[in-house]
Symmetry: none
Subunit: 415 residues, 2 copies
């Protein structure tokens, strides 16, 4: 069962927007045993799109299209679908009702005629209603190839894909199971690993595929397999992982998971009836924001402070000026004091704190750019760890936030 | 002058990695007048790659390839290039020296034979030395089509593209100028804008192209044009922008490339020697995080509080319980009290506050999902506005944060 993804939009071809949709779609299709064999991004141009549709039809049974469904003149996907399917646009009453509801409820205005045109769809299309936006999804078939057209706005696309498209694909096609397991290693380069596991790699069964994914200081090894018997595939992969463990067990640090770190932390906290607060300096609200984005965050996240300026650490968190002067604002002592203080202020079970230098300037610290101390306060103790997250400001902030949540996760699991 | 980009790697097709390389490459090529007409991602499979090369050759004069250049078995790009160019791999001495230097200098180990194979390149290739990694870039030509193969690691690819590829393309091809100007608007939907500017849009010259790009709480309008006379293109675009200003000047908040809303706010504050604090409920740190990501944020952003739980609004910000009971926690009164309180706590000139219901549950409020009150405290006054940002949690949070900063921007400008 092969699928292709077609991303439509000039903004992709001029590099104004990074396409994140295709990675999401690929992952979701893989989960249900559908392999994506090509992703093609093309501009909002009728003839190019028609050619791309035609080429995809010759190779795949499923074609997922995103983008070009807006109400304005530059969007041509719907008209081009009509040309390709020799069809015409008709009004879909349910989609029209949705347009009116979205406008009248949320924007408190009446939709204009362009908005109403969002409810026009090819007559052959099964309409997939979009509750987050005015452009409906569309499901069309031609010579046994399924075309699904989705809006390009990521959260609209995601909801439609998960709620409408995936269940229909599951029903429509017999699919094998595709299983990936990604092993995280740390401390050895890919060539050195390849040398050690050479015999193991040469003896991999035909059905199990290995990929190396290196990045600074870290190599991920992905094992993939597919077949009709899900438990047999899992067993085959697990067997190979066990073989790997014997060879490079010392550098394996974990396995890549499905959930984000904040989801894992939130679930751990909720299951234990515990809650969290945050005290952030260099991360400036990133940790709080990651916790808040989770549905039902209020059950486990009480809030936090962003004490970005040094003075606010004293004023809001009551960190003694003397402690800051003695150890420096970027220090283990200040990170721990911040964690303890915010835990008390918000009366939570756990607290995380981060103080560091995100760059590009050194600020008030005497430490290198990228240095971050993360403090964790738990019902039992307080501790901190020092890290260096490189010299790219946005990356330092993101890495520090993820690492703080990762440290917290490990600590919660101990209790 | 048309170019295509080919991204090689299974990790892209299973959605394990978001491809950010092609957006970067597209942008850089656009800057030198080269238009990218297709981006294709394919797996590490010889035949698929060969077909993709062949198809690209029939449409474009420049083909930029990334990925598949690692030393391990799963990487097949180099061998496939040899097949396509009917060539064989030879040792490049300079690349071998580079491999040794990278290993011996930075990793303090001797490269193994797999690492040394990184210095093998097709004999016809012009080798582009990679100072950040072991895989060199390669420049090959066939029937007047230029092929450039680059490593997939983003910072290696970027350095090679900018330092080696762009200068060679500039020398090799006569190119037109491509100019994009993106206008940022806020406060009106794309359909409403399209209605107002309909006549203007219909009268756009053939050479100027318009695109609408709606995203959370704002619509971006992109004008594009190309030609051989750079200043004439700029003049043509500026003329159209002036036409737009007359029609929708009230909703134009800036131009892209210039700045994000947080940069605009930070620059306004810095220029006036003023500073800001934030009190966030439903936005949970998003506003603080946006301010912090800016280089030099400490000059204008003192920090803030995330009072996510209702109790913390009373405890941390001292919002009277009676006020919350009387007006509800999601109300103009509470938003204004939060702004005033955090302004006092952090002793800042300005403060923004947000309280609302991000969904998917209604929480403690009696208001609709998506309702957000934004409070702004200035040296002169405090006020608030009510909004509805829809029913998607992550989108509500992002829109609320952008709108809060936009309200603040307008207010600072009055002083």
């Amino acid at each position: 069962m092969l699928a292709e993804i077609i991303i439509i939009g000039d903004e992709i071809l001029i590099g104004q927007i990074v396409d994140t949709n295709s990675a999401f779609i690929s992952k979701e299709l893989n989960k249900i045993g559908i392999q994506v064999t090509q992703i093609t991004a093309v501009p909002d141009e009728r003839n190019t799109i028609l050619n791309t549709f035609q080429n995809a039809t010759s190779r795949a049974q499923i074609v997922i299209i995103t983008g070009g469904l807006g109400p304005t003149k530059d969007d041509v996907t719907k008209k081009t679908l009509c040309d390709f399917f020799d069809d015409k646009l008709v009004l879909n009453q349910e989609a029209l009702t949705n347009v009116h509801e979205l406008f009248e409820k949320h924007l408190k205005i009446t939709p204009n005629k362009l908005n109403e045109q969002q409810a026009m769809v090819p007559s052959q299309a099964v309409v997939l209603q979009n509750k987050y936006g005015t452009a409906p999804g569309m499901w069309l078939e031609k010579n046994d190839v399924v075309f699904v057209s989705l809006p390009g706005v990521p959260y609209e696309m995601k909801a439609l894909l998960q709620n409408e498209v995936v269940p229909r694909l599951q029903q429509r096609f017999q699919r094998p199971f595709i299983v990936h397991k990604t092993i995280l290693t740390m401390g050895m380069g890919e060539s050195a690993i390849a040398e050690i596991i050479e015999d193991w790699e040469n003896n991999l069964p035909e059905t199990v595929k290995l990929a190396y994914m290196p990045s600074l200081g870290r190599v991920r090894l992905r094992l993939s397999s597919k077949g009709t018997n899900e438990s047999a595939i899992h067993a085959a992969i697990d067997q190979q992982v066990n073989g790997l463990k014997k060879l490079i067990g010392n550098i394996i640090v974990g396995y890549e998971g499905e959930s984000s770190i904040e989801e894992v932390v939130a679930n751990l906290l909720k299951a234990r009836g515990k809650n969290l607060s945050t005290a952030e300096s260099c991360t400036g609200g990133q940790i709080a924001k990651q916790m808040t984005i989770i549905t039902g965050a209020s059950q486990c996240f009480s809030g936090g402070v962003v004490t970005y300026a040094t003075a606010s650490k004293t004023k809001i968190l009551g960190i003694p000026q003397s402690l800051i002067l003695k150890y420096n604002v970027v220090s283990a002592e200040v990170a721990e004091a911040m964690a303890l203080s915010v835990k008390k202020l918000y009366q939570t079970d756990y607290a995380v704190a981060a103080t560091g230098i995100a760059g590009p300037d050194k600020g008030e610290g005497d430490k290198d750019i990228g240095t971050v101390y993360i403090g964790i306060a738990t019902p039992e103790r307080v501790f901190s760890e020092k890290f260096n997250f490189g010299n790219h400001r946005a990356a330092v902030i993101k890495r520090a936030a993820n690492t703080a949540l990762e440290l917290l996760r490990k600590e919660i699991l101990k209790n």
